[in-house]
Amino acid sequence: MSPEATIEAHNFGVASDKRLPEIVPTQIPRSLARLIECAAAGDLAAFEEIMKHSEKRVMQMTWRMLGNEADARDAAQEVFLRVYKYLGRFKQDQPFFAWVYQITLNVCRDIAKKRRQYDTQFISLENGGHEAALVVCDDRADAEQTLIRVQERELIMRAIATLPERERAAILLRDLEGLSTEEVAHIMSSTATTVRSQISSARQKIRVYCGRYLKKRGATVE
Protein backbone atom coordinates (compact mmCIF):
# COMPACT_ATOMS: atom_id res chain seq x y z
CA MET A 1 0.00 0.00 0.00
CA SER A 2 1.35 3.42 -0.84
CA PRO A 3 1.93 5.97 1.93
CA GLU A 4 -0.45 8.28 0.12
CA ALA A 5 -3.25 5.80 0.53
CA THR A 6 -2.46 5.42 4.22
CA ILE A 7 -2.62 9.14 4.83
CA GLU A 8 -5.78 9.58 2.81
CA ALA A 9 -7.37 6.71 4.63
CA HIS A 10 -7.89 8.87 7.67
CA ASN A 11 -10.03 11.29 5.75
CA PHE A 12 -12.71 9.25 4.13
CA GLY A 13 -15.44 10.65 6.24
CA VAL A 14 -16.03 7.90 8.76
CA ALA A 15 -16.34 9.97 11.85
CA SER A 16 -17.13 8.40 15.16
CA ASP A 17 -20.37 10.28 15.69
CA LYS A 18 -23.29 8.23 16.80
CA ARG A 19 -25.54 8.91 13.82
CA LEU A 20 -24.05 9.73 10.52
CA PRO A 21 -26.00 9.62 7.30
CA GLU A 22 -22.74 9.73 5.38
CA ILE A 23 -21.65 6.31 6.60
CA VAL A 24 -23.50 4.87 3.65
CA PRO A 25 -22.43 7.30 0.99
CA THR A 26 -23.56 6.82 -2.54
CA GLN A 27 -20.03 7.48 -3.73
CA ILE A 28 -17.11 5.78 -2.05
CA PRO A 29 -14.28 8.20 -1.26
CA ARG A 30 -11.36 7.68 -3.56
CA SER A 31 -9.04 6.84 -0.72
CA LEU A 32 -11.36 4.13 0.51
CA ALA A 33 -11.80 2.80 -2.99
CA ARG A 34 -8.05 2.61 -3.31
CA LEU A 35 -7.71 0.83 0.02
CA ILE A 36 -10.34 -1.64 -1.04
CA GLU A 37 -8.53 -2.31 -4.28
CA CYS A 38 -5.25 -2.84 -2.48
CA ALA A 39 -6.85 -5.08 0.15
CA ALA A 40 -8.64 -7.11 -2.51
CA ALA A 41 -5.28 -7.64 -4.15
CA GLY A 42 -4.01 -9.11 -0.88
CA ASP A 43 -2.49 -6.07 0.78
CA LEU A 44 -3.00 -6.75 4.48
CA ALA A 45 -1.83 -3.28 5.52
CA ALA A 46 -4.60 -1.75 3.42
CA PHE A 47 -7.08 -4.13 4.94
CA GLU A 48 -5.91 -3.20 8.40
CA GLU A 49 -6.64 0.44 7.56
CA ILE A 50 -10.12 -0.50 6.46
CA MET A 51 -10.60 -2.38 9.71
CA LYS A 52 -9.43 0.56 11.77
CA HIS A 53 -12.05 2.76 10.22
CA SER A 54 -14.94 0.40 10.47
CA GLU A 55 -14.26 -1.67 13.57
CA LYS A 56 -16.06 0.64 15.99
CA ARG A 57 -19.25 0.61 14.00
CA VAL A 58 -19.05 -3.12 13.46
CA MET A 59 -18.43 -3.78 17.14
CA GLN A 60 -21.27 -1.50 18.22
CA MET A 61 -23.63 -3.14 15.78
CA THR A 62 -22.67 -6.67 16.76
CA TRP A 63 -22.93 -5.77 20.43
CA ARG A 64 -26.36 -4.25 19.96
CA MET A 65 -27.54 -7.22 17.96
CA LEU A 66 -26.09 -9.92 20.19
CA GLY A 67 -26.11 -8.20 23.55
CA ASN A 68 -22.79 -9.26 25.00
CA GLU A 69 -19.16 -8.52 24.46
CA ALA A 70 -17.87 -12.02 23.86
CA ASP A 71 -20.34 -12.68 21.06
CA ALA A 72 -19.82 -9.19 19.69
CA ARG A 73 -16.07 -9.79 19.43
CA ASP A 74 -16.52 -13.17 17.80
CA ALA A 75 -19.00 -11.68 15.38
CA ALA A 76 -16.75 -8.73 14.55
CA GLN A 77 -13.87 -11.07 13.82
CA GLU A 78 -16.04 -13.16 11.55
CA VAL A 79 -17.35 -10.02 9.84
CA PHE A 80 -13.85 -8.86 8.94
CA LEU A 81 -12.83 -12.29 7.78
CA ARG A 82 -15.83 -12.37 5.47
CA VAL A 83 -15.16 -8.82 4.33
CA TYR A 84 -11.64 -9.81 3.35
CA LYS A 85 -12.79 -13.01 1.74
CA TYR A 86 -15.43 -11.37 -0.41
CA LEU A 87 -13.72 -8.08 -1.01
CA GLY A 88 -13.05 -9.13 -4.57
CA ARG A 89 -16.78 -9.36 -5.21
CA PHE A 90 -17.48 -5.92 -3.84
CA LYS A 91 -18.55 -3.50 -6.53
CA GLN A 92 -17.16 -0.02 -6.19
CA ASP A 93 -20.44 1.59 -7.20
CA GLN A 94 -22.24 0.31 -4.12
CA PRO A 95 -21.91 1.81 -0.64
CA PHE A 96 -19.13 0.07 1.25
CA PHE A 97 -20.52 0.41 4.76
CA ALA A 98 -23.93 -0.80 3.67
CA TRP A 99 -22.17 -3.87 2.40
CA VAL A 100 -20.29 -4.24 5.68
CA TYR A 101 -23.53 -3.88 7.64
CA GLN A 102 -25.11 -6.50 5.44
CA ILE A 103 -22.33 -8.91 6.32
CA THR A 104 -22.59 -7.89 9.97
CA LEU A 105 -26.29 -8.71 10.10
CA ASN A 106 -25.72 -12.06 8.42
CA VAL A 107 -22.97 -12.95 10.85
CA CYS A 108 -25.07 -11.89 13.83
CA ARG A 109 -27.91 -14.03 12.56
CA ASP A 110 -25.62 -17.03 12.18
CA ILE A 111 -24.15 -16.61 15.64
CA ALA A 112 -27.56 -16.10 17.18
CA LYS A 113 -28.73 -19.29 15.52
CA LYS A 114 -25.74 -21.15 16.87
CA ARG A 115 -26.18 -19.94 20.40
CA ARG A 116 -29.92 -20.54 20.49
CA GLN A 117 -30.11 -18.44 23.59
CA TYR A 118 -30.34 -15.18 21.82
CA ASP A 119 -32.78 -13.24 23.98
CA THR A 120 -31.70 -14.79 27.27
CA GLN A 121 -28.11 -13.82 26.73
CA PHE A 122 -29.05 -10.41 25.48
CA ILE A 123 -30.62 -9.54 28.79
CA SER A 124 -28.58 -11.54 31.24
CA LEU A 125 -25.06 -10.75 30.09
CA GLU A 126 -25.75 -7.15 29.22
CA ASN A 127 -25.82 -6.06 32.82
CA GLY A 128 -22.28 -7.19 33.42
CA GLY A 129 -21.01 -5.24 30.46
CA HIS A 130 -22.31 -1.98 31.78
CA GLU A 131 -20.38 -1.86 34.98
CA ALA A 132 -17.44 -0.12 33.39
CA ALA A 133 -19.68 2.45 31.77
CA LEU A 134 -21.35 3.06 35.11
CA VAL A 135 -18.05 3.90 36.72
CA VAL A 136 -17.21 6.32 33.93
CA CYS A 137 -20.58 8.03 34.36
CA ASP A 138 -20.04 8.22 38.06
CA ASP A 139 -17.03 10.44 37.61
CA ARG A 140 -18.89 12.91 35.49
CA ALA A 141 -22.36 13.19 36.86
CA ASP A 142 -23.99 12.99 40.19
CA ALA A 143 -25.27 9.68 41.47
CA GLU A 144 -28.91 10.37 40.76
CA GLN A 145 -28.39 11.25 37.13
CA THR A 146 -26.19 8.21 36.71
CA LEU A 147 -28.82 6.01 38.23
CA ILE A 148 -31.51 7.39 35.94
CA ARG A 149 -29.28 6.86 32.94
CA VAL A 150 -28.53 3.31 33.92
CA GLN A 151 -32.22 2.63 34.46
CA GLU A 152 -33.11 4.05 31.09
CA ARG A 153 -30.39 2.08 29.39
CA GLU A 154 -31.50 -1.12 30.99
CA LEU A 155 -35.08 -0.41 30.06
CA ILE A 156 -34.34 0.24 26.43
CA MET A 157 -32.04 -2.72 26.34
CA ARG A 158 -34.76 -5.01 27.52
CA ALA A 159 -37.18 -3.42 25.10
CA ILE A 160 -34.81 -4.09 22.20
CA ALA A 161 -34.31 -7.63 23.39
CA THR A 162 -38.03 -8.29 23.01
CA LEU A 163 -37.97 -7.41 19.33
CA PRO A 164 -37.79 -10.00 16.59
CA GLU A 165 -34.43 -10.12 14.84
CA ARG A 166 -35.39 -8.24 11.68
CA GLU A 167 -37.27 -5.54 13.54
CA ARG A 168 -34.31 -5.16 15.86
CA ALA A 169 -31.94 -4.78 12.93
CA ALA A 170 -34.23 -2.31 11.18
CA ILE A 171 -34.70 -0.07 14.22
CA LEU A 172 -31.02 -0.13 15.13
CA LEU A 173 -29.95 0.82 11.65
CA ARG A 174 -32.62 3.48 11.31
CA ASP A 175 -32.68 5.12 14.74
CA LEU A 176 -29.21 4.42 16.08
CA GLU A 177 -27.08 4.33 12.98
CA GLY A 178 -29.18 7.03 11.35
CA LEU A 179 -29.56 5.36 7.98
CA SER A 180 -32.47 6.19 5.71
CA THR A 181 -35.28 3.73 5.19
CA GLU A 182 -34.03 3.00 1.67
CA GLU A 183 -30.54 2.32 2.92
CA VAL A 184 -31.84 0.00 5.60
CA ALA A 185 -33.91 -1.77 2.98
CA HIS A 186 -30.83 -2.17 0.82
CA ILE A 187 -28.82 -3.59 3.70
CA MET A 188 -31.54 -5.97 4.74
CA SER A 189 -32.23 -7.00 1.15
CA SER A 190 -35.81 -5.91 1.56
CA THR A 191 -38.16 -3.20 0.34
CA ALA A 192 -38.61 0.24 1.86
CA THR A 193 -42.26 -0.56 2.58
CA THR A 194 -41.35 -3.68 4.52
CA VAL A 195 -38.68 -1.83 6.45
CA ARG A 196 -41.14 0.95 7.29
CA SER A 197 -43.56 -1.63 8.56
CA GLN A 198 -40.85 -3.27 10.67
CA ILE A 199 -39.73 0.06 12.06
CA SER A 200 -43.30 1.05 12.89
CA SER A 201 -43.89 -2.24 14.65
CA ALA A 202 -40.64 -1.96 16.58
CA ARG A 203 -41.42 1.57 17.73
CA GLN A 204 -44.86 0.53 18.90
CA LYS A 205 -43.40 -2.32 20.91
CA ILE A 206 -40.72 -0.14 22.46
CA ARG A 207 -43.30 2.49 23.35
CA VAL A 208 -45.51 -0.11 25.00
CA TYR A 209 -42.54 -1.57 26.84
CA CYS A 210 -41.30 1.77 28.07
CA GLY A 211 -44.80 3.26 28.45
CA ARG A 212 -44.98 3.11 32.22
CA TYR A 213 -41.56 4.60 32.67
CA LEU A 214 -42.29 7.34 30.15
CA LYS A 215 -45.57 8.27 31.83
CA LYS A 216 -43.85 8.36 35.18
CA ARG A 217 -41.06 10.49 33.82
CA GLY A 218 -43.56 12.79 32.11
CA ALA A 219 -45.42 13.26 35.40
CA THR A 220 -42.15 14.01 37.20
CA VAL A 221 -41.12 16.57 34.60
CA GLU A 222 -44.52 18.27 34.76
Binding site: K18, R19, G42, L44, F47, E48, M51, K52, E55, K56, M59, Q60, W63, R64, E69, R73, A76, Q77, F80, L81, Y84, G129, H130, A132, A133, V136, R149, E152, R153, L155, I156, M157, A159, I160, I171, R174, D175, L176, T181, R196, I199, S200, S201, R203, Q204, I206, R207, C210, G211, L214, K215, R217, G218
Partner: protein, 256 residues
Protein backbone atom coordinates in the same frame (compact mmCIF):
# COMPACT_ATOMS: atom_id res chain seq x y z
CA UNK B 1 -58.06 12.80 9.13
CA UNK B 2 -59.43 11.16 12.28
CA UNK B 3 -57.66 9.45 15.21
CA UNK B 4 -58.20 5.98 13.75
CA UNK B 5 -56.27 6.93 10.62
CA UNK B 6 -53.60 8.87 12.44
CA UNK B 7 -52.71 6.35 15.12
CA UNK B 8 -50.93 3.82 12.84
CA UNK B 9 -48.94 6.63 11.27
CA UNK B 10 -47.63 8.05 14.55
CA UNK B 11 -44.63 5.67 14.92
CA UNK B 12 -43.46 6.68 11.46
CA UNK B 13 -44.33 10.31 11.97
CA UNK B 14 -42.05 10.72 15.00
CA UNK B 15 -39.16 9.23 13.05
CA UNK B 16 -39.75 11.37 9.99
CA UNK B 17 -40.55 8.33 7.87
CA UNK B 18 -43.73 9.69 6.31
CA UNK B 19 -43.84 11.59 3.09
CA UNK B 20 -44.46 15.31 3.21
CA UNK B 21 -48.18 15.18 2.55
CA UNK B 22 -48.88 12.60 5.23
CA UNK B 23 -46.66 14.39 7.72
CA UNK B 24 -48.60 17.60 7.20
CA UNK B 25 -51.93 15.84 7.70
CA UNK B 26 -50.76 14.13 10.89
CA UNK B 27 -49.28 17.37 12.25
CA UNK B 28 -52.56 19.14 11.59
CA UNK B 29 -54.46 16.42 13.43
CA UNK B 30 -52.12 16.49 16.41
CA UNK B 31 -52.70 20.20 16.89
CA UNK B 32 -56.38 19.57 17.41
CA UNK B 33 -56.32 16.17 19.18
CA UNK B 34 -54.93 15.96 22.71
CA UNK B 35 -55.14 12.16 22.94
CA UNK B 36 -53.13 11.58 19.79
CA UNK B 37 -50.63 14.24 20.93
CA UNK B 38 -50.03 12.29 24.14
CA UNK B 39 -49.45 9.12 22.17
CA UNK B 40 -47.13 10.95 19.79
CA UNK B 41 -45.19 12.30 22.77
CA UNK B 42 -44.80 8.79 24.08
CA UNK B 43 -43.44 7.64 20.73
CA UNK B 44 -41.06 10.56 20.68
CA UNK B 45 -39.94 9.79 24.25
CA UNK B 46 -39.33 6.15 23.41
CA UNK B 47 -37.35 7.13 20.33
CA UNK B 48 -35.34 9.55 22.39
CA UNK B 49 -34.57 6.81 24.88
CA UNK B 50 -33.51 4.55 22.06
CA UNK B 51 -31.25 7.16 20.57
CA UNK B 52 -29.67 7.72 23.94
CA UNK B 53 -28.86 4.07 24.08
CA UNK B 54 -25.11 4.08 23.82
CA UNK B 55 -23.16 0.94 23.44
CA UNK B 56 -20.22 0.19 25.67
CA UNK B 57 -16.91 1.85 24.96
CA UNK B 58 -14.49 -0.86 24.07
CA UNK B 59 -10.87 -0.31 24.85
CA UNK B 60 -8.20 0.10 22.19
CA UNK B 61 -6.72 -3.13 23.39
CA UNK B 62 -9.83 -4.99 22.31
CA UNK B 63 -9.71 -3.45 18.86
CA UNK B 64 -5.99 -4.17 18.54
CA UNK B 65 -6.55 -7.77 19.55
CA UNK B 66 -9.41 -8.03 17.09
CA UNK B 67 -7.26 -6.77 14.22
CA UNK B 68 -4.41 -9.04 15.18
CA UNK B 69 -6.70 -12.07 15.33
CA UNK B 70 -8.23 -11.27 11.96
CA UNK B 71 -4.88 -10.75 10.28
CA UNK B 72 -3.47 -13.91 11.82
CA UNK B 73 -6.45 -15.88 10.63
CA UNK B 74 -6.14 -14.44 7.14
CA UNK B 75 -2.43 -15.28 7.06
CA UNK B 76 -3.16 -18.80 8.26
CA UNK B 77 -5.83 -19.35 5.66
CA UNK B 78 -3.67 -18.01 2.87
CA UNK B 79 -1.00 -20.66 3.61
CA UNK B 80 -2.97 -23.80 4.20
CA UNK B 81 -1.20 -27.08 4.90
CA UNK B 82 -1.28 -29.42 1.94
CA UNK B 83 -2.76 -32.60 3.32
CA UNK B 84 -5.41 -31.14 5.58
CA UNK B 85 -6.33 -28.95 2.64
CA UNK B 86 -6.89 -31.92 0.39
CA UNK B 87 -8.77 -33.85 3.05
CA UNK B 88 -10.90 -30.92 3.98
CA UNK B 89 -11.68 -30.32 0.33
CA UNK B 90 -12.76 -33.93 0.02
CA UNK B 91 -14.65 -34.42 3.24
CA UNK B 92 -15.58 -30.98 4.52
CA UNK B 93 -18.51 -30.61 2.13
CA UNK B 94 -19.99 -33.76 3.62
CA UNK B 95 -20.07 -32.36 7.15
CA UNK B 96 -21.74 -29.14 6.10
CA UNK B 97 -25.29 -28.93 7.45
CA UNK B 98 -26.76 -28.57 4.00
CA UNK B 99 -25.01 -31.76 2.88
CA UNK B 100 -26.12 -33.90 5.79
CA UNK B 101 -28.71 -35.75 3.72
CA UNK B 102 -26.18 -36.51 1.02
CA UNK B 103 -23.72 -37.67 3.68
CA UNK B 104 -26.38 -39.88 5.24
CA UNK B 105 -27.28 -41.36 1.85
CA UNK B 106 -23.62 -42.04 1.12
CA UNK B 107 -23.15 -43.77 4.46
CA UNK B 108 -26.26 -45.83 3.85
CA UNK B 109 -25.04 -46.85 0.40
CA UNK B 110 -21.66 -47.84 1.81
CA UNK B 111 -23.34 -49.86 4.57
CA UNK B 112 -25.64 -51.66 2.15
CA UNK B 113 -22.76 -52.46 -0.17
CA UNK B 114 -20.67 -53.76 2.71
CA UNK B 115 -23.57 -55.87 3.93
CA UNK B 116 -24.11 -57.27 0.44
CA UNK B 117 -20.47 -58.22 0.09
CA UNK B 118 -20.33 -59.77 3.53
CA UNK B 119 -23.40 -61.85 2.84
CA UNK B 120 -22.87 -62.90 -0.74
CA UNK B 121 -19.30 -62.57 -1.87
CA UNK B 122 -17.23 -63.09 1.26
CA UNK B 123 -19.33 -66.01 2.41
CA UNK B 124 -18.30 -67.93 -0.68
CA UNK B 125 -14.65 -67.65 0.13
CA UNK B 126 -13.36 -70.56 2.17
CA UNK B 127 -12.03 -69.74 5.58
CA UNK B 128 -10.13 -71.93 8.00
CA UNK B 129 -13.36 -73.46 9.13
CA UNK B 130 -15.13 -73.75 5.83
CA UNK B 131 -14.60 -76.21 3.11
CA UNK B 132 -16.43 -76.14 -0.15
CA UNK B 133 -17.53 -79.57 -1.05
CA UNK B 134 -19.93 -80.39 -3.71
CA UNK B 135 -22.14 -83.26 -3.12
CA UNK B 136 -24.53 -84.65 -5.49
CA UNK B 137 -28.04 -83.56 -4.75
CA UNK B 138 -29.87 -86.44 -3.22
CA UNK B 139 -32.96 -87.19 -5.10
CA UNK B 140 -34.76 -87.98 -1.93
CA UNK B 141 -33.93 -86.76 1.50
CA UNK B 142 -33.52 -88.80 4.63
CA UNK B 143 -33.19 -92.52 4.55
CA UNK B 144 -32.24 -92.66 0.92
CA UNK B 145 -29.24 -90.43 1.47
CA UNK B 146 -28.18 -92.42 4.45
CA UNK B 147 -28.34 -95.55 2.39
CA UNK B 148 -26.17 -93.92 -0.26
CA UNK B 149 -23.59 -93.02 2.34
CA UNK B 150 -23.74 -96.55 3.68
CA UNK B 151 -23.12 -97.83 0.19
CA UNK B 152 -20.12 -95.58 -0.05
CA UNK B 153 -18.73 -96.96 3.21
CA UNK B 154 -19.36 -100.40 1.97
CA UNK B 155 -17.13 -99.78 -0.99
CA UNK B 156 -19.58 -99.11 -3.80
CA UNK B 157 -17.51 -96.16 -5.01
CA UNK B 158 -18.56 -96.67 -8.56
CA UNK B 159 -22.14 -95.74 -7.68
CA UNK B 160 -23.15 -92.49 -9.44
CA UNK B 161 -25.08 -91.23 -6.38
CA UNK B 162 -22.35 -91.26 -3.78
CA UNK B 163 -20.29 -88.23 -2.67
CA UNK B 164 -17.34 -87.92 -4.94
CA UNK B 165 -14.30 -86.49 -3.30
CA UNK B 166 -10.82 -86.74 -4.45
CA UNK B 167 -9.44 -88.02 -1.22
CA UNK B 168 -6.10 -89.15 -2.43
CA UNK B 169 -4.86 -85.65 -3.04
CA UNK B 170 -5.90 -84.55 0.42
CA UNK B 171 -4.29 -87.50 2.01
CA UNK B 172 -1.05 -86.66 0.31
CA UNK B 173 -1.27 -83.10 1.60
CA UNK B 174 -1.81 -84.16 5.16
CA UNK B 175 0.93 -86.71 4.98
CA UNK B 176 3.31 -84.07 3.69
CA UNK B 177 2.32 -81.73 6.50
CA UNK B 178 2.97 -84.38 9.06
CA UNK B 179 6.38 -85.06 7.68
CA UNK B 180 7.32 -81.44 7.75
CA UNK B 181 5.97 -80.50 11.17
CA UNK B 182 6.31 -83.64 13.13
CA UNK B 183 2.67 -84.27 13.75
CA UNK B 184 1.49 -80.70 13.96
CA UNK B 185 -1.38 -79.87 11.71
CA UNK B 186 -1.32 -76.30 10.53
CA UNK B 187 -4.26 -74.04 11.09
CA UNK B 188 -4.80 -73.76 7.39
CA UNK B 189 -5.26 -77.44 7.06
CA UNK B 190 -8.87 -77.06 6.19
CA UNK B 191 -8.02 -74.46 3.61
CA UNK B 192 -5.79 -76.98 1.94
CA UNK B 193 -8.59 -79.41 2.26
CA UNK B 194 -10.81 -76.94 0.52
CA UNK B 195 -8.38 -76.71 -2.33
CA UNK B 196 -7.86 -80.39 -2.42
CA UNK B 197 -11.39 -81.62 -2.18
CA UNK B 198 -12.93 -81.46 -5.55
CA UNK B 199 -15.96 -82.94 -7.01
CA UNK B 200 -16.71 -83.82 -10.53
CA UNK B 201 -18.92 -81.23 -12.09
CA UNK B 202 -22.48 -82.11 -12.40
CA UNK B 203 -25.62 -80.09 -12.91
CA UNK B 204 -27.41 -80.96 -9.71
CA UNK B 205 -24.73 -80.44 -7.05
CA UNK B 206 -25.17 -78.75 -3.76
CA UNK B 207 -22.39 -76.55 -2.53
CA UNK B 208 -20.97 -75.27 0.75
CA UNK B 209 -20.31 -77.66 3.49
CA UNK B 210 -18.49 -77.07 6.67
CA UNK B 211 -15.57 -78.86 8.21
CA UNK B 212 -16.88 -79.44 11.65
CA UNK B 213 -13.64 -80.44 13.13
CA UNK B 214 -10.13 -81.47 12.36
CA UNK B 215 -8.59 -83.23 15.25
CA UNK B 216 -5.00 -84.20 15.45
CA UNK B 217 -3.92 -86.91 17.80
CA UNK B 218 -0.93 -86.37 20.00
CA UNK B 219 1.16 -89.08 18.42
CA UNK B 220 2.13 -89.37 14.81
CA UNK B 221 0.86 -92.85 14.65
CA UNK B 222 -2.74 -91.91 15.41
CA UNK B 223 -5.17 -91.09 12.66
CA UNK B 224 -6.30 -87.58 11.74
CA UNK B 225 -10.04 -87.20 11.98
CA UNK B 226 -11.83 -84.84 9.62
CA UNK B 227 -15.54 -84.19 9.90
CA UNK B 228 -17.32 -82.56 7.05
CA UNK B 229 -20.90 -81.45 7.35
CA UNK B 230 -22.74 -81.65 4.10
CA UNK B 231 -25.54 -79.33 3.15
CA UNK B 232 -27.92 -81.98 4.25
CA UNK B 233 -28.09 -81.84 8.00
CA UNK B 234 -28.45 -85.58 8.19
CA UNK B 235 -25.20 -86.28 6.42
CA UNK B 236 -21.85 -85.75 8.01
CA UNK B 237 -18.73 -87.20 6.52
CA UNK B 238 -16.16 -88.41 8.98
CA UNK B 239 -12.91 -89.06 7.34
CA UNK B 240 -9.92 -90.70 8.92
CA UNK B 241 -7.16 -90.13 6.34
CA UNK B 242 -4.57 -91.93 8.45
CA UNK B 243 -6.41 -95.19 8.18
CA UNK B 244 -5.71 -97.47 5.40
CA UNK B 245 -8.56 -97.91 3.06
CA UNK B 246 -10.42 -101.04 3.63
CA UNK B 247 -9.50 -103.96 1.66
CA UNK B 248 -12.90 -103.85 0.20
CA UNK B 249 -12.18 -100.51 -1.47
CA UNK B 250 -13.36 -98.07 1.17
CA UNK B 251 -11.26 -94.93 1.65
CA UNK B 252 -11.87 -94.31 5.31
CA UNK B 253 -14.90 -92.10 4.96
CA UNK B 254 -17.96 -92.74 6.97
CA UNK B 255 -21.39 -91.51 6.42
CA UNK B 256 -23.34 -90.87 9.59
Amino acid sequence: MNCKNVEPLLPLYVGGDLDEKQSRLVAGHLQSCTECSVVADEYAGARQLLQGYEGPVFSDEIYTRLRRQVLTEIARESHPRVWPGIFSRLFLPLVQPRMRWAAAALLLAISVTALYFSRNVLRRLPTDHQVAVRTEEPKQAGAEVRSEQSNESAGSSSSPNKTQVRMATTRRLITRKREANDGVVATNLTRELAQAIKVEPSSNYRVIQRAVGVSQPSSDAGPVRVEIQTSDRNIRIIWLPGQRPGTDGTDGSKGL
